[in-house]
Symmetry: C2
Subunit: 517 residues, 2 copies
């Protein structure tokens, strides 16, 4: 089991802050007693298997049949040439079909594990196997205002704030811009300023979206400045791209495919995300949904294989669900819980680095609905072994909203999930026959014994936001709910954590070349 | 998969109410459009297996070794005689040890499945196999007041109210008195009035605790009145007893053992509950905890076997956790989540009807902490296949509190859990190759098609409390949180649902014989 020394508040400190070094130093001091995190990110999943072996085969076979008989529509010319070269077939009716052997070849040659680099290498993570990491996906268009508890359009200032907030949260293992700066109307300015917000406020592995392929060249120049010079970023890319090259059902999207080509040219790792919606763009039957969505994500993989075999791609097969009553997307449900878990199981079973989503509550308030929907879907996705679990932090309102309070609460929730995921180590010492015998024949209890203290320090997670006091103490302390406690914590972090991970020179150079808002 | 027709509000209507027949009739009407519940109680668990096969064997072997080498202390004389007759051995130092063969014999002869009867037979459930049912455990001493959002001592009036509230909730599959009437100081009056509250307000399978064995005879007389005459209750018992015959670590409790003997005499099914606390009365190491707690619950089973082989006993092996920082019990954690799931897996692996606990949040407020802790532990216990999942509804504050709002929220959460548990049915029709082909080559979407509508009605759960509206609509409707919505729902039910499941004659007869407060 991975164990590492952490201080949740100081996980934040990568490079020294130029504006608030004093504050950062105080933070380090305050949290300086090293604590063993009993349940760090990267715990091993797979103990929950919603699909039987035969289910897995049937869904996979149906996906292969969809690709070989129905194939993909609207294939951009450049991609069509590459796909045909790799073994795809033209059905003569405007669609390219993929023989089973092509898909299996793409799977076999796919990158099974790879590193998502942080600018701070201590924050890099390895994707693949059964390792589980929570991270973000984006992209909310509204922010839950901490002052009035209502939603308002998300801004670039919010994006900076969210980025530096999550920089302190150990359980956001990679950070995708979680909201869209709706106050930046121009798409190029938006992409540029989004990338800048990430560079300035975090050294974790990051991710973003490119509205158009032509934005990539200039943004890579900005990333090169942060990386230390021309071409430096591509040698050790610390930002991946979230792309949806497939439009459900079963066709490619030209703009996104263009982005794919340019990402590959710059060695930007990709999360190719299929975001079909059950009952709208994919079947409402869950088995059918999984078959189509698997076929579509395999179509992304075949695309990558045709362009650059073995290129790092997170196989991001996200099941989304709509509520029949309204036609609106709903993220907080038992359906969403089991579908994302099943998707993770499918991808892992194929040996591909899996990406699914969780914690996508429909709640607007930071309330009991919020907690229950997030708790269930997070645990399921993690137990099923989802490698990268997107949308897991800070998101509310069916992915329309992002919330500062949510980020800090979700961080603690993920520790509980990782703790559950870590499981139970069965060893002679842990079985403790002798310790039990001693307690039974001796003191009659286990309080304070070495066996107890050691285990409590090594194996138990102690929350700092969750209130475990008894009702009277809780009332005496103001009968606060989790939303209130989280707001105070978020405010404290936003007041104290101003990391600024760009040097003065880097920042000046970026501002010289780009319109930083 | 079990499917049944429900209307969540009218699941409540067993016998007609004598006081509010008109209201009840209106309720039936309002909810009269039959809806197929896609995820009723009794879904099949087992897809989550926190322990490997080798883990299971090692824990079981350690439990057997504890019983055969260390055995049980403080065995009451009557029980000692029965145990020795069954094959236990006196270690000459005040403890009885159980040879492996005795434990295996008790397991082999144990009741593997049995019915928990409701007075309304439509509400009976079968315990065992991998069927999962949520229910209550008790016993809170404080009630979350709906008027001021703070806790106060629980009363007999609360118990009546909780009982009739849960009577309307489909996902409380059996009902144990969830709170203690702290305004009834005399123990006999307490036991009598607790049983009366259950009789009057629900026809589900019920459960209670008996403070002393001598309370059982008179209470069975009361149950007989409700059942229709002398001896009628024992022929078809609709109330089980929650008993903790073992005091951790590894000794029997005399009063509880007396209760066991009298329950068996009256054919009252029993939940024999081991409630060891990790780090206090059992090892803090999770494997050691499970070994000892399993040994202790097996000691209850051997006890039952020695008295009446095959007598119905729910093998209730509950892992509880203490927070090292305070020594207080904590129910809302990753540790608690994985331990209860592992315990369910262990009991099911042994083929015994498993009882575990979940949804035991430490939160006092009905807030995000509440939801996350409940969501995680409920899902884990259910996925692991816990047959009877206690404490799952209405409980707050580390089991110190009970809440009306919590009951209605938990009911909806359990539907989501059951929905996840139901899993994904993989059939030719569900895989939907033809439906996908038709959508791809035709309309380009799946909205409104027969394949979609059928699945949406058959397979999807539609919540009525969870808010799925977008932020603007939510704000226009008052920006309500789940606590507020649940309070309104609970108040509505308490205003309208006055079932009174005792006839006028039965009620008068009970009041003639007992001091009903």
């Amino acid at each position: 089991m991975p164990v590492r020394t952490i201080t949740h508040m100081t996980d934040t400190i990568g490079k020294p802050s130029r504006r608030s070094g004093g504050r950062a130093t105080r933070l380090v001091k305050r949290a300086s007693k090293p604590v063993i995190d009993p349940c760090p990110p990267g715990q091993i999943g797979g103990a929950y298997r919603p699909l039987s072996e035969s289910d897995l085969h049937r869904i996979y076979d149906t996906a292969l049949r969809l690709l070989s008989e129905l194939g993909m529509g609207e294939v951009p010319d450049r991609l069509a040439q590459d796909l045909l070269k790799a073994g795809a077939e033209d059905d003569g009716q405007g669609r390219l079909t993929f023989p089973r052997s092509l898909v299996e070849d793409a799977s076999a040659k796919a990158a099974k594990t790879f590193i998502l680099h942080g600018r701070d290498d201590n924050r890099s993570i390895e994707v693949g196997g059964n390792k589980v990491y929570f991270g973000t996906g984006g992209a909310a268009v509204q922010t839950l205002d901490m002052d009035n508890g209502l939603y308002r359009p998300s801004t670039l200032a919010d994006l900076h704030d969210f980025t530096r907030l999550q920089d302190t949260l150990a359980n956001v293992s990679w950070y995708t811009r979680c909201c869209v700066a709706t106050d930046v109307p121009d798409n190029f300015d938006l992409d540029v300023n989004t990338a800048y917000a990430l560079l300035r406020n975090t050294t974790k592995p990051t991710a973003t979206s490119f509205t158009l392929a032509e934005h990539i060249d200039p943004i890579v120049k900005m990333l090169d400045i942060a990386a230390g010079g021309d071409g430096a970023f591509s040698k050790r890319p610390f930002m991946k791209a979230h792309i949806s090259p497939v439009i459900s059902p079963m066709r490619y999207g030209e703009d996104a495919v263009d982005v794919v080509y340019d990402c590959i040219r710059h060695n930007i790792p990709m999360s190719c995300i299929t975001a079909a919606q059950a009952g709208a763009t994919a079947p409402a039957t869950m088995a059918g949904f999984l078959a189509q969505s698997l076929a579509e994500t395999l179509a992304s993989l075949v695309m990558v294989h045709a362009i650059a075999p073995g290129y790092p791609m997170v196989f991001s097969n996200w099941p989304l669900v709509v509520d029949l009553r309204t036609g609106a997307f709903s993220g907080g449900s038992g359906e969403s819980t089991v579908l994302n878990a099943a998707s993770a199981q499918l991808s892992n079973w194929l040996g591909l680095p899996s990406g699914v989503a969780c914690s996508m509550t429909d709640a607007k308030a930071i309330d009991a609905q919020y907690g229950a929907e997030k708790g269930m879907s997070s645990l399921a996705a993690a137990l099923a072994g989802g490698n990268l679990i997107y949308e897991s932090s800070g998101m509310t309102a069916s992915l329309l909203g992002a919330s500062f309070e949510a980020f800090v609460l979700d961080d603690e929730m993920h520790s509980n999930t990782y703790r559950a995921l870590r499981g139970i180590e069965v060893s002679e010492d842990n079985l403790g026959f002798e310790a039990i015998k001693e307690a039974v024949l001796g003191a009659g209890h286990f309080l304070g014994g070495d066996h107890t203290i050691t285990a409590m320090e090594r194996d138990y997670f102690y929350p700092t936001l969750a209130d475990r006091s008894e009702p009277r103490t809780w009332a005496e302390n103001g009968a606060k709910d989790a939303w209130t406690l989280a707001r105070a914590r978020a405010r404290e972090i936003l007041t104290t954590h101003h990391p600024e991970y760009l040097s003065t020179d880097q920042d000046a150079e970026i501002r010289r070349q780009f319109k930083i808002l």
